[in-house]
Amino acid sequence: MSQPARADEIHSPSGSHQQTEAGVARYETAFRHEYKEWAALLQRNAERLAKGSYSLHWLETDGAAWGRRAKPSSRGLTYTDINHVKGYGDLPEMATWKNFAPRGSVREPYAAEMPTLEDYTVLDRGEVWAENVLTLYEEAKARQWNATRDIPWNELEQLPEDLEKATCQLCTFLTEVEFVAGDFPAKWLYRIPQDFLEVKSFLSTQLMDEARHQEVFRKRAIAGGGLLHSSPGFEWALKAILEAPTHTMGTFLLNLLGEGLVLSIFRSGEMIAKTYVDKEIFRRCLQDEARHVSYGVMELKYYLDHHPNRAQALAEMHRFADVGEQVILTAFTEAALVEPVAILLGGGLAKIDQGMEGMARLWSMFIDEYLQRCERAGFPRRERCAIPVNAPWGAA
């Protein structure tokens, strides 16, 4: 039996040679025979250059917002600052430019010659926008941290075996779940057109945040003993997020519900941390997670507030949440999550019962916070929530 290739030994792109060959053939056909515009542009450019003539049409400012210079604020030059300049901050309710032409540039005269990218499908501003997205983007950039350097790794202490294994299992869970919070925005990022560039920018920071979280928990586990068990319940919850039918629905499930619960786990993680290293990891991560939660709340609010038929939008969101909450509950009742947290909370395997009692008290608080966030978004779930307000194993 052949050995699996190491990641650094893989040189060819994914897929078989036949698939690659077929892909190249399709690409050739498209760009040689189907798309005529670029060849005409190249011909025109070649002729211009051959003649030694210049085209200075780009000096014309008709149709441009030229000359209205953006002024930096005390923080530097933010998106908010440049969006205050007339001609640049007007976001369409429905994007029509399905290419890379920057919002605010002179682009109309060239529309007929430009390509159309059918992958840009999220054209409704209501599906992506949140009133706090500019603030969150600036904050995300300002509050980045480095999982290699900013954690005092050399202070990591060896814990008793039960606590170390519980910590490593919690880190395995977090390593498993964190990247869906990267894959989900990644899945939608390239479907969002350039006119919503601020949202694309914020989602890019979320990707970076999630990469760092996956990194830091993987490092913590491997530095402390190793990764332990992945879990099917986690996987189904992650699949439910990734396969959400719309960006808003997935953002609700990921950012508002899922990350809201993970934020609670991070806060619990900081509380039950047995080393300064773990304290620092969880405190850093909970800050990032809270930004994602805030986007989720305000994105849902914008969607509902601007939907042409709010009742219909609410009904669809409820139908989605009825399923989504149950699938997410699968993850949050898994033994590979609940039991290790209970052991950490109780202070050891022998005290797991006390830990479960403590978790029961926290559970109600987590769910209440989730329901409050739903209400803040204008999405009342209290009467319909599929997640029990009290822990399924009974309150203390």
Binding site: R143, R267, M271, R283, V297, M298, M365
Partner: protein, 162 residues
């Protein structure tokens, strides 16, 4: 982490709870801008309430306004000022004292059981209060900065009533 040392120790002790105590923290934060730039923006109004810290055991509160990399304002707060704060952290004097003493013992770092999050997460002995979940979440978004803000108390001596 707050820088202390012999010079700071020689300074006069600062009473807690008092505006002077919070202003000292603000001054220390503002004097260490490079660290704040590492941690990132903080934009919120945080209220610190000592439930029995006022006269005759009444509540006493200070509001600290954080803007960008600075603590720009420290003021006393009455019940009428509550709405101005994004969130409040409420605890008894005994809890605050325990936390501050832990930070002092750790020379600017509390032990594992006296971080802000440790004390506030279960809702007791410290309580995080806000009537708006988005404003409450600011406490989480800036948690590291807020922790380092109080950690700076390790660089001077605090005295308590009684």
């Amino acid at each position: 982490m707050a820088q202390g040392g012999a010079a700071a120790a020689q300074e006069s002790a600062v009473p807690f709870p008092s505006l002077e105590w919070f202003r000292r923290l603000a001054d220390l934060m503002n004097a260490n801008r490079p660290r704040q730039e590492q941690l990132g923006y903080v934009d919120c109004v945080a209220q610190f309430t000592v439930l029995d810290g006022g006269s005759n055991g009444a509540p006493w509160s200070a509001q600290v306004t954080f803007e960008e990399f600075e603590a720009s304002d420290v003021r006393a707060a009455t019940a009428a000022d509550v709405a101005r704060a994004d969130f409040s952290l409420e605890a008894t004097l005994a809890t605050w004292r325990e936390m501050i003493e832990s930070i002092a013992r750790g020379h600017g770092r509390p032990d594992l059981e006296h971080t802000l999050n440790y004390l506030s997460h279960p809702g007791t002995p410290m309580r995080l209060v806000s009537d708006d979940p988005l404003r409450r979440d600011l406490y989480f978004r800036y948690n590291q900065s807020l922790q380092e803000f109080v950690n700076a108390s390790g660089s001077f001596r605090t005295v308590f009533p009684g």
